[in-house]
């Protein structure tokens, strides 16, 4: 036991005081916070130009109400639209309008036909018709004018009509497992789940990989032989997995404390940080639990890959199936967000290699209940223990094998042996 501890100590101090660890620990929460702030920053920094509109009004009476309805302003307080009325309304006016657009004297040329309320169509010329903001605004303004005009013509009371056709908004409120409610929509739900799941995914990948790399490195530099003169293979494997595990755990603890801190005090410190930080502190507890469990099962897999590889390239190649087991649940997240409690989702959240990501995602998205969470955790722990037992056997033979890469039947023989 004391030997495992010595190994863990070395692994830990060699990794935690490395620059890359410190940088990653600081940068990740910064990125996380930035993802909350950047969208609003982007909106603020959006470059806005005035849109110069020329309007050919063949009805002769829509220009006034139209230009008075289109009164949006830019960030700097200036009107968003500058309009001018085409004085003439013959075919040369159309040509002139198009020409002005082409020579960039104006940005848009709008033709309102005489029978606009029967044809239900107006024509808009512009160099850029993909600007949804502008075209939508123009369209809805005309639409409103048309609505009012028709209601007026039909002799009905516009006020009553508006009341009768008022839109109904869907307000989504999430009930969490603790019974608290929060006002959340698809966007925030998807974003916060996805970010946390992505962190689990990336860290499992990083720390699993560092277990593997460190084993391959000790193997190729023959340190393993020196270590074996004082410890047995199982102690080496345990030392490696636990050592890197503590490194990851340290990082997670720092992040989670930052996360819990943001949840509790974030709204005061970061007024722009938006809804996405409105998370349950309990989520961070599960975040740690599922990271730890996921880490053990994947670190064990990576340790096995490290033990049977001779070089880092070799190891990266052999680790591909392991990486797939991490990628598959990430690919399923999209489906999971839509139906987190479908039987497929429940099944996937019980499968050991997928459960760290899928179950954690489900906890975020819905309320799977303690029975399901507990079962998933239990299956995960049991399979990890089994995997450690098998990997121990592969490890014992593998770390002393140099040269040829073992075939699958050979590895199976090592397990039986």
């Amino acid at each position: 036991m004391s030997k495992i501890w010595t190994l863990v100590k070395r692994e830990y101090s060699e990794s935690v005081f490395k620059k890359s660890f410190i940088i990653m620990t600081i940068i990740t929460p910064l990125l996380l916070v930035a993802m909350g702030i950047i969208p609003s920053l982007l909106v603020m920094m959006e470059t806005e130009d005035q849109v110069r509109l020329r309007i050919l009004d063949r009805t002769g009476k829509l220009y006034e109400p139209f230009s008075s309805s289109l009164q949006d302003t830019l960030q700097n307080g200036q009107p968003r639209f500058v309009h001018e009325l085409s004085e003439t309304n013959d075919s040369s006016a159309v040509l002139l309008g198009k020409n002005l657009v082409e020579t960039q004297a104006i940005d848009g040329f709008l033709i309102i036909p005489k029978d606009v309320f029967r044809r239900n169509q107006i024509t808009y010329f512009s160099r850029n018709v993909a600007n949804f903001d502008d075209t939508n605004l123009i369209e809805s303004t005309i639409q409103n004018l048309a609505d009012q005009h028709r209601i007026k013509n039909s002799g009905l009371d516009a006020g009553i009509i508006n009341e009768l056709t008022a839109d109904i908004r869907l307000k989504t409120i999430k009930i969490t497992s603790e019974g608290t409610e929060s006002e959340r929509g698809f966007g925030e739900e998807y974003l916060s789940t996805f970010i946390l799941v992505l962190i689990i995914y990336v860290t499992l990948l990083i720390y699993g990989n560092s277990v593997m790399r460190s084993i391959v490195h000790e193997k190729s530099s023959r340190i393993i032989e020196v270590l074996l003169s004082s410890a047995n293979p199982f102690q080496l494997m345990a030392g490696k997995i636990l050592g890197q595990g503590f490194v990851g755990f340290t990082q997670y603890l720092l992040w989670s404390l930052t996360g819990i801190g943001l949840v509790l005090f974030g709204s005061k410190a970061l007024p722009v940080s938006s809804n996405f930080l409105k998370m349950d502190a309990m989520i961070f507890v599960y975040f740690i639990i599922f990271y730890i469990l996921g880490y053990f099962i994947f670190a064990t897999l990576y340790a096995a890959v490290g033990a049977i590889s001779n070089s880092e390239q070799d190891a990266q190649q052999m680790a591909t199936p392991v990486v797939f087991m991490l990628i598959i649940p990430i690919m399923i997240i999209g489906f999971l967000v839509k139906s987190p409690d479908s039987s497929l989702a429940i099944t996937l959240s019980m499968i050991p290699f997928f459960s760290p990501i899928i179950m954690f995602a489900r906890i975020n998205l819905s309320n799977p209940g303690f029975l399901q969470i507990g079962t998933s955790i239990l299956i995960l722990i049991l399979s990890t223990v089994f995997l450690i037992w098998i990997t121990g056997k592969i490890f014992r033979v593998g770390i002393l094998m140099y040269g040829k890469r073992p075939t699958l039947p050979e590895i199976i023989k090592w397990i039986k042996y």
């Binding site: 010595t6 060699e14 530099s221 023959r222 032989e225 020196v226 003169s229």
Partner: protein
């Protein structure tokens, strides 16, 4: 006192018999040469002693107990290929190896400092292992093998890459350890250094023990006891000696072979009073020749 008792160990890898039917005893205060060509089974034998590999049959007893992981703290190992953490600084690295052998952190550090001083590299203790020269790394590796004062020390080619000054430094430490009643296994294929250092020799080839015993006995039984003599005086006297089995006499130079039960000392004593001796050489067959003849003989069969 028998420190390590190896009884008929055998190890197979698949169909390949790496070691078979090897037995020997090691005592404290002696240096044992483990000799053999590449692929003879030296490393496999060492790994079995260290409990890295478990023999398929046979037994290994260390201090009268079956070899186990708990006994590993009492042995030290210098592998042939050096293994140090390149990014670690020398002092923490040695401290780590000391702790791995059961020393406390403080004790490990104290001894690391002592040995760095003794091997004249204490000024390098805050450098990273990768910043050291080959020879300096070798010294660190050597310290890591002896830092916990092991009762059995296994050295696999300890002198490769060392300059003559450092070879002497290592040799003196090895001889000191021998005086302290440690058993030392010296695995090498360089017969000259084995000849100079070893008390006993264990030679293996193709997984089998082919030779075992005190170096002197081996050299005597394999040696042809040719004596090269430069002299002046009556050449008849040489031929008249009873102990001489055959002689190739040139007048003032002779090559003499004695009968089995006589030593070159006996012969020298006999002729000294009657001849004036300019050069006397009892040319023993070198370990190298013995090794080659055995290996060739074996491999031809």
């Amino acid at each position: 006192m028998v420190l390590l008792n190896v009884q008929k160990i055998e190890k197979k890898f698949g169909d390949f018999r790496a070691v078979s039917d090897v037995s020997f005893n090691l005592e404290g205060g002696k240096i044992y040469g483990l000799l053999g060509p590449n692929g003879a089974g030296k490393t496999t034998t060492i790994r079995m002693i260290m409990n890295i590999l478990v023999p398929d049959s046979g037994s290994i007893e260390f201090f009268g107990q079956k070899m186990s992981d708990d006994l590993k703290n009492r042995l030290g190992y210098l592998p042939e290929e050096r293994g140090l953490y390149p990014k670690m600084k020398v002092l923490p690295l040695l401290q780590f190896f000391g702790e791995m052998h059961g020393l406390t952190a403080a004790e490990a550090k104290k001894r690391a400092v002592f040995w760095l001083e003794k091997l004249e590299i204490s000024d390098k203790s805050s450098l990273k292992a990768e910043e050291l020269s080959k020879g300096q790394q070798q010294k660190i590796q050597f310290i890591s093998a002896i830092i916990h004062n092991p009762e059995l020390l296994i050295l696999d080619e300890p002198f490769t890459g060392l300059d003559p000054v450092n070879v002497n430094l290592f040799k003196d430490i090895i001889l000191d350890l021998k005086k302290e009643n440690r058993a030392i296994i010296f695995s090498t294929h360089l017969m000259e250094s084995a000849e100079k250092l070893c008390d006993e020799v264990l030679m293996i080839n193709q997984g089998r023990k082919v030779l075992d015993g005190p170096l002197k006995t081996i050299q005597q039984s394999y040696g042809k006891k040719t004596i090269l003599l430069e002299y002046s005086g009556d050449q008849q006297i040489i031929e008249q000696q009873e102990m001489v089995s055959s002689v190739n006499n040139y007048g003032n130079y002779a090559e003499i072979i004695l009968h089995d039960n006589y030593s070159s000392d006996d012969f020298l004593r006999k002729i000294c009073p009657v001849l004036s001796v300019h050069r006397f050489e009892a040319a023993r067959t070198s370990l190298n020749d013995i090794f080659i003849s055995i290996v060739k003989g074996e491999n031809h069969v």
